[in-house]
Subunit: 320 residues, 2 copies
């Protein structure tokens, strides 16, 4: 019998990555196309579906069963991408429908962080965990919340936006969402950069390199070498993240919080202060119960696996 | 055929109220016993089960099908009451088991705010609403969160404690939980009292009566008469509650937030600033979507109906 595979598609502003993924989470084939070249989403869907379908035909004895798509601002309920600032398509784009029209197979679409959370549940460290947070500390802070074995979507599909919890009332950090003081302005690669530059300025120390060249990887290197302001930036980031997580734990009581993304690569520099702040700020009944762990998904594969897991999950539900 | 009824039991520090409730949410019989008189929880359960069973026998043609219990610090998963400071029973008390031993019928137990949320869902204004918050603004702030038609319990049964979200980092308000700055120290009958006294002190105005006599009902009366500090106390309470709710909406995206309890009786004085602050602080995609409404449960019946709805809900699940 032919092996079933699904397509996992990770849409980004510049490039879209895709892979053919089997039920065990192995990526049998993968590729990239340039998102920005397609001004029309219909054309994008048609072209990509044709590419993927022909790739599947090249692999002997597999049958393509569906498309899972992770996208910024993707909505699982409607299959639409809504007002994504970094994509070439404006307004509300029914991308799941465009794919379904092009391929005549099941299509599931959600936002990228929720897809990655699903990936952690189906293929990663959350296989037997029914209550967890998946948090991507990238340029921004993306999150997928799983409660009772299911992604929390809310009534409209937009729930779980932990990055947009307001954590500082009188913050001077303007978020891309138009408000001030969102968690992602502190706990993200961009957030730690602002904190580091502020700590340097407070010490009247000049940045060791051109500020334009400072990113979270640079701060990580500095901190490893014992730079006080860089270490303080990690501590401060962890403190704010830990408090926000403590509040979220009070609402969801998860078993595990998975951290993923560039900033999570800093290891104990970010995990230790985050854990410390979480425990310090937790209500007594929650203390010592929620682990903070690195995601077990490989940085390069997570988005494709997450998108693929979305449709694997749906296919299994149908089969039950 | 005999009509099915269930017992709804609302355990309080001083009194325990109970009622026999039919499937339509009508209370056919009710009564009260003094919690404080029973030092042993087994004896409490045995006595109350006997009373309720004999009350059911007095009503012609009904059959008692189960016991639903709402209690401070009640845990649905374990059927235990854990470290409830205001009850006579210390430590972890397996009260659901004591009732089951005494009556040989299905027993469900949860905390009082979650029971009330279930009551709103089964008998009240949330009948067709799958995503909502139920918030009791009493002496403290109790909450039950419903996501996708189910109470959010988390992995250990303790999720949904919105009253213990830390909303002020450098707060001087010590919460009963031992931490500072919890939402319930602001948005509750006790919280508004502290705010009002602070505003009076700031104006170097003496309290119009002995501060001991000031409670939320008094502040309500003062505000209705145009007292500036009383009105400001309601505004301030609503502002803080609205911001905390905006953050929680970002995580759960509910359709409705039901407010219940003494402070909610103040009507627009509390609803208007809460709504204003919620809308102001919401992420754009959530604006205008979540209603804040008064609970449709009657203040005197809510706890009994909530507890009864818990077991009605379980009985229906079994029947399906």
């Amino acid at each position: 019998m032919a092996e079933k595979v699904v397509a996992g598609i990770d849409i980004g502003g510049t490039n879209t990555k895709y892979g053919l993924v089997n039920e065990q989470g192995k990526i049998l084939s993968r590729g990239t196309i340039r998102t920005a070249e397609y001004q029309q989403p219909e054309e994008f869907a048609k072209t990509l579906a044709a590419i993927i379908s022909s790739e599947a035909e090249k692999i002997s004895d597999v049958i393509l069963c569906g498309y899972g798509i992770g996208s910024p601002n993707g909505n699982y309920f409607t299959g639409t991408i809504e007002f994504a600032p970094n994509l070439p398509w404006k307004g509300v784009v029914p991308l799941a429908k465009h794919f379904a029209d092009a391929c005549n197979l099941p299509v599931a679409l959600t936002n990228d962080a929720k897809a990655a959370a699903m990936g952690e549940m189906i293929f990663g460290g959350a296989k037997n965990i029914n209550h967890f947070f998946f948090i991507t500390l990238g340029t921004g802070l993306g999150s997928g919340i799983v409660s009772d074995g299911k992604i929390v979507y809310g009534h409209d599909g937009f729930a779980g936006e932990m990055g947009h919890i307001i954590v500082k009332e009188d913050s001077d950090r303007l978020c891309g969402c138009g408000r001030y003081g969102c968690l992602e302005q502190y706990a993200s690669a961009s957030g730690i950069r602002i904190s580091y530059l502020k700590f340097l300025a407070g010490k009247a120390r000049r940045a060791p390199v051109d500020p334009e060249q400072i990113d979270s990887a640079f701060i990580f290197q500095q901190a490893k070498q014992g730079d006080q302001e860089a270490m303080r930036a990690f501590d401060y980031t962890g403190e704010i993240l830990g408090l926000a997580l403590a509040n979220a734990v009070t609402l969801f009581s998860p078993q595990v919080i998975f951290l993923f993304g560039g900033l999570a690569q800093a290891g104990e520099l970010i995990f230790e202060p985050t854990r410390r702040s979480l425990e310090k700020n937790l209500l007594k009944i929650f203390k010592g119960k929620t682990k903070i762990l690195p995601s077990s998904l490989n940085e390069g594969d997570a988005a494709i696996l997450g998108a693929a897991s979305l449709i694997w999950h749906d296919l299994k539900k149908v089969a039950q």
